[in-house]
Amino acid sequence: MADYKSILFEQMIKDFAENEVKPLAQEVDEQERFPVETVEKMAKMGLFGIIIPRQYGGAGGNYNMYISAVEELSKHCGTTGVILSAHTSLCAAPILEYGTEEQKQKYLPDLASGKKIGAFGLTEPNAGTDASNQQTRAIEMEDHYLLNGSKIFITNAGYASTYVIIAVTGKGPKGPEMSAFIVEKAFPGFSIGKKEKKMGIRGSSTCELIFENVKVPKENMLGKRGDGFKIAMKTLDGGRVGIAAQALGIAEGALQATIAYVKSRKQFGKSISAFQNTQFILADLATRTEAAKLLVYAAVDAKQNKLPTLSLKAAQAKLYAAETAMEVTTKCVQLHGGYGYTREYPIERMMRDAKITEIYEGTSEVQRMVISGALLRK
């Protein structure tokens, strides 16, 4: 039997991205506006619960569907792509993977239906690439942990209701002991701080999280005490596949827009697509994008089948797809010439959006550390 599930999913997400996401992309960027209406539509379609099993209210779909959704959305709007990626990979996935049965039943149904959006808090002002240098503390009290500190650059922060937060719970043998917690927006003492003004993905809600004597019930610890750093690193392995798909989508979207442009733009009496310079640049960019796609879907395969190579594959996919997105969008702006530098065309936005994929969920340098680490450990 034909794989109707995949055929129909592709048709649905392409139609949705073209008809609902593309028309809003420019406005979302210019007004730095979280696309609430798009998020509501995505919720209705079950996009926030693709990988969540049916017994927790999700669709019980596969990783391939989720990643192709991030890719298609990002072809037209990097902001929309990352909303889905952060929600799924950084919040729903760790709860699904490390949560107790009670935690899964309590938190996953609302995340699956999109009634609640998810976010993840690891980064702090002094803990970026050096993620183990955490300052946020969770002190064990009688029936709760008392959470104090702050997180920065948190994707979806202002619109999320469920957060997976990493904090120091004590001293471990080799440094601070870290643990993960599920924190609800409504917990007293938890507030959203400054919203960042960014170069790209400007509609994405990137804010500071502030914890002032937040009482987190003990049953909200995710995984075992002391497993926080491990959970964070494993979660980021999955998250990197999502960001790689976002980068891939941005590159594909830029190519699509540029192919249309070079065919219609005329100089010296002919369309600029007739010049070999245009043709060769497009050929190289399309080939590189296709290579990125193969790496992304190899990482999807590792994630779907729970292969031990996930960490390496995800880092390779993200590194290559992010640098591809940057190269493709930069060269596509060049092919657009002066018009490409204006906001009349989407290509400059795509170039600004592409840059973040080389930075968040581990910079390209971090990916190189992960990749070389895997090579040299052998």
């Binding site: 999913f9 649905m12 379609m45 019980g60």
Partner: protein, 261 residues
């Protein structure tokens, strides 16, 4: 309430081209879609299901590839799907097609039958009304709104005419043909999309139905295509530069001269 929605898989005519020599449609490589009016009929059924509770059954006739259209309907939220497929059905015109579909509706049983007004490939708008005639049930065509009064067990339909609406009520089994302007069909959703994978499509063949071979297929179709022709467009363009008012007057005069207004 059991609602049967009759749909047709059609080539996406916005992407279709015409063979300049043979004057026929080039269907190769053109993606197939659910006929737009029919997709709205599915939407109407799903809205009735949400509001009043109903079982939505989708029915189509066509080759095995039409399964995709049925699976799309399931992914939108329909409960069951049936495909009428048999060599004996091939070549049916609207009359033969409606004969077969009516027999299937009778076999499946329904409280309401919904169809799209017409298909974008044939544009006849005949199959819906013909099904109703074969079944000898009331029909309401050109529905611009469909509602249901639970207390009175009555279907309320706003029927569109060129210059007015007519509101009709129907009790008991009837057939409604809907316009795509009634409402935008919903997107498929991931829950039903994954769930449809486990559903079987019911295949209905000639042997399953109470039909006379003389009334179906190519032999049972009185319609014969004598010839087809493609309209040739006259591309002579006249350019005049005028101020807006004079331009409007010129356009109106030109249209009047061609008896277009």
């Amino acid at each position: 309430m059991k609602i049967i929605v009759c749909i047709k898989q059609v080539p996406n005519t916005t992407e279709i081209k015409i063979d300049p020599v043979k004057n026929t449609l080039i269907r190769d490589g053109v993606p197939s879609i659910i006929n737009p009016d029919d997709k709205t009929a599915i939407e109407v059924a799903l809205r009735l299901k949400e509001k009043h509770g109903a079982e939505v059954v989708v029915l189509t006739m066509g080759p095995m590839q039409a399964e995709k259209a049925l699976r799309e309907a399931l992914a939108m939220g329909a409960d069951q799907a049936y495909l009428l497929s048999d060599r004996a059905f091939a070549g049916s015109d609207t009359l033969a097609t409606s004969t077969i579909i009516a027999a299937a509706v009778k076999k499946l049983g329904a409280d309401l039958v919904l169809c799209g007004r017409q298909a974008i490939d044939g544009d006849t708008a005949q199959v819906g009304p013909q099904i109703a005639e074969h079944l000898d049930i009331p029909q309401i065509t050109y529905a611009a709104a469909v509602d249901y009064d639970e207390e009175r067990e009555t279907i309320i339909v706003k029927r569109q005419f060129e210059d007015r609406y007519q509101t009709l009520e129907a009790k008991g089994l009837c057939l409604i043909t809907v316009l795509s302007t009634l409402g935008t069909p919903r997107y498929m959703n991931v829950w039903d999309m994954v769930a449809q994978d486990e559903k079987e499509i019911g295949i209905i063949t000639f042997a399953d139905l109470d039909l006379d071979k003389a009334n179906i297929g190519l032999g049972g179709s009185p319609t014969k295509v004598k010839s087809t022709a493609t309209k040739q467009f006259d591309k002579t363009i006249e350019t005049v530069e005028l101020d807006p008012e004079a331009a409007a007057r010129t356009i109106v005069d030109a249209l009047k001269a061609r008896h277009l207004i």
